[in-house]
Symmetry: C2
Subunit: 463 residues, 2 copies
């Protein structure tokens, strides 16, 4: 970690970011012929994050051979960049010496991130590898709830009392031994005598100010204090909303105990989004590195819920068997109404789920948003009612059938707008993640209403 890597200019093509297939082939070839020198040479220009990506993309057999051959070059940062699904496997392959060395190089917040999802015996192995001070820090962090600010923060903080001047702060910084400072830092946190943070001073301001200037005269305008028990998703939201670069973390008594920097907040934001997207699609935690059995299990619950939904819709259809037996065209056309409602409902619910996540949908505008979605549903419903009505008339030569499907379409699209907005809002209010559960409810509603409206009106009008 002490060498300066070559500055790698980013090319206009995607290619520069990712390991191209050629680079991966070359690396795997070096592994095949067990050429350790060649492997080290090929891996040398790669950032640990890229090496982690490489390990995720190759299969388990190549992965273990590569790690064994790479051996002592294995950097701690690779471990923290690695997808959770293969961390345990990789740690299992590393020799104890390499693991110890790798873990000792890591920042305490990265070690926390690494060990929190490991099984007990691996967790112990890693904690044992740490020096006493670091182990204590990691164990303290593990005392905070999962996904909390306390797990996310790093303990090394640069702080200064309120009465200090610029000169005193700079002298103190110079006198502090390297290992007590964070790897990177951008602010000095000013604290009162009880260690409560009162403000931030950027290093840029510090450097440009006269030695006798009071730190308190240089405070940044935007300053946010984060309680250690705060959920990490709210931390990421605050960083993004207020353009924070770093923020102090405090314990229950409001005392400074650590700091969170924006790069970690950005990683959390990324994970939260990933989670939202996957949950909306009914894919639990999914990752490409998961085993087939793992993935099958993750997707099963949502499919099971969908099966119940589909059976509920079928029960509705079953009520109209007699009508369908008389007019088979009903069976041909009925999926159209349900499908359009399902799609319109998904549109509304996705907008609502996002707006809830970004705190743009609140008590202040919920009724206006619901009215708006219903109106959008009604207008699009009318437009597609006309289209499908005409299709129905032309296809089956029955104006009455065209009329029936048109009316059913309008009804289902209005219901889709209403359910697509109201269901996520209600789930959010009662504390259920709307990204996770809305889809099943909304589709059930649009399926049931779609089939019932179409077949019900058909019975009234056509029979």
């Amino acid at each position: 970690m002490s060498e300066q890597t070559e500055p790698v200019p980013i090319e206009l093509e995607d290619a520069a970011y990712v390991l191209g297939p050629k680079a991966i082939s070359a690396i795997l070839y070096a592994v095949d012929i067990e050429d350790q020198a060649k492997l080290t040479e090929l891996m040398e220009p790669l950032h640990p994050a890229d090496i982690a990506d490489l390990l995720e993309q190759i299969n388990a057999f190549d992965r273990s051979r590569l790690i064994r051959l790479y051996d002592r070059e294995f950097d701690g940062e690779i471990l923290s960049e690695l997808d959770e699904s293969i961390r345990e496997e990789v740690i299992g392959v590393l020799t104890p010496q390499v693991l110890t060395q790798a873990v000792r190089e890591m920042d305490s917040d990265d070690v926390v991130d690494l060990v929190e999802d490991l099984e007990d015996h691996q967790q112990e192995t890693i904690l044992d590898a740490l020096e006493d001070v670091d182990r204590a820090a990691v164990q303290q962090a593990l005392g905070y709830p999962e996904y909390s600010a306390g797990r996310l923060m790093q303990r090394e903080v640069v702080m200064a009392p309120e009465h200090w001047t610029v000169g005193e702060a700079i002298d103190h910084l110079r006198a502090t031994p390297e290992e007590e400072l964070p790897d990177q830092f951008y602010h000095i946190v000013i604290v009162d005598p009880r260690l409560h943070p009162v403000g931030n001073v950027t290093l840029g301001k510090l450097m440009r100010s006269r030695r006798e200037t009071k730190l308190m005269d240089l405070l940044e305008e935007t300053f946010q204090i984060i309680p250690a028990t705060q959920e990490e998703s709210d931390v990421a939201y605050a960083f993004n909303q207020y353009h924070l670069i770093s923020a102090p973390v405090v314990d229950e008594e409001g005392r400074l105990i650590g700091i969170i920097t924006i790069d970690d907040a950005m990683a959390v934001l990324d994970e939260e989004h990933e989670e939202d997207i996957l949950r909306l699609a009914g894919v639990g935690e999914g990752s490409l590195s998961d085993r087939v059995s793992e993935t099958t299990k993750q997707r099963l619950p949502w499919l099971a819920v969908n099966l119940l939904t589909a059976i509920a819709a079928s029960l509705v259809i079953a009520q109209f068997e007699a009508a369908i037996a008389q007019i088979v065209a009903l069976a041909v056309l009925m999926p159209i109404v349900a499908s359009m409602g399902g799609n319109a409902g998904t549109q509304s619910l996705t907008v609502a789920v996002r707006a809830l996540a970004t705190k743009d949908l609140t008590g202040a505008n919920v009724w206006r948003v619901i009215r708006r979605e219903v109106l959008v549903g009604a207008i699009n419903g009318l437009i597609f009612a006309v289209v499908i009505g005409i299709v129905g008339v032309i296809w089956f030569g029955s104006p009455a059938l065209g009329f029936v499907i048109a009316i059913a379409m309008v009804i289902n699209m209005i219901v889709a707008g209403l359910a697509g907005t109201a269901i996520p809002v209600i789930l959010d209010r009662i504390g259920i993640d709307p990204a996770l559960a809305s889809g099943a409810f909304v589709t059930t509603v649009t399926d049931v209403v779609g089939f019932f409206a179409f077949l019900g009106i058909a019975v009234m009008v056509l029979l």
Copy 2:
């Protein structure tokens, strides 16, 4: 912008981040009774990002009254935080003096972000409000393609030649007038005589090192150069992947022309995710502040595509009218197979779209991923085939019917896994955003295959 706002501790509840309904009511009441002093007092503790959220959540009538009453207090940063959909409206309400003042306070990159989506006459008004130097900077940035690094960067950069020492850099920083420096900066970019960036030095290292130390001895390990024409989504990816805090931007000749900081990259990451989620759900650009007509228009194309898909599925059903007329149970059960396939396909495609976006799905593992998804589809297909087969037998008392639906289920789930992965990969290869178009294709496939397999096998087995 010169006052220090009170440090606002973040509460454990969501409430502290957002404007509670109470705060909004109080503000709207002050607007109702036209109490300017009260309004200013209530708005004072709010961050510009929160004021922007407030303006987005109230209706257009309240919005214009609030802005008129708030008047001179209106900060430029509110404009840059505002959702695009209501920016033009808000700018139209501001008096020319307030607008000029607000725009002059903004950083050049924020002005670019503001004007790029405005109509021509409003764009001119704002450019006219700027001082000459700033106007030139904004116009230069507008010369770069939309969504490129050139639009995202700020022009103010702190740089130093390779031969400088720490002492020379610090003296230079102190001698530079405030207005030529960026608002916040965390690195000094080291450049060669042709202005090509060669490395970054953090302010923390600079401050802790001896005056005679060479800057070149303090370079950071991770260093990325970003071409001005780079797409902003790739910029955000690089920041997140390599934990960059700031990165220099260069022109076609590789000369340093600006810098991008992580807070802007984080905002881009957030927007990209938003776009992906909304596109996956077939909601173009959607925002809650859009007008009904706007929203209706945005959602229409996807619904139109879905209508075609649904009609295609109906055409398949129409081929089996005779069979349905004989066995109405087929009409009752057929949506189940299509629906399960649609959901399984959506699961696979969402995982694939995400993995493509994060560059985790590449040429190196695409075949393995497809095999895996097909296998997952087959296993879940078998599980649900047994379940639905039993349901079919019990419900309709026909083992043959149970067998038919079970076989159709397995086939459609396997096809779903295959189509759900292969379609996004193919779209990505031919340069179409997989988030935008995959859904329609995958659902068409699972609908058509679902109905065809179920009804086709039914004809063979039951008739």
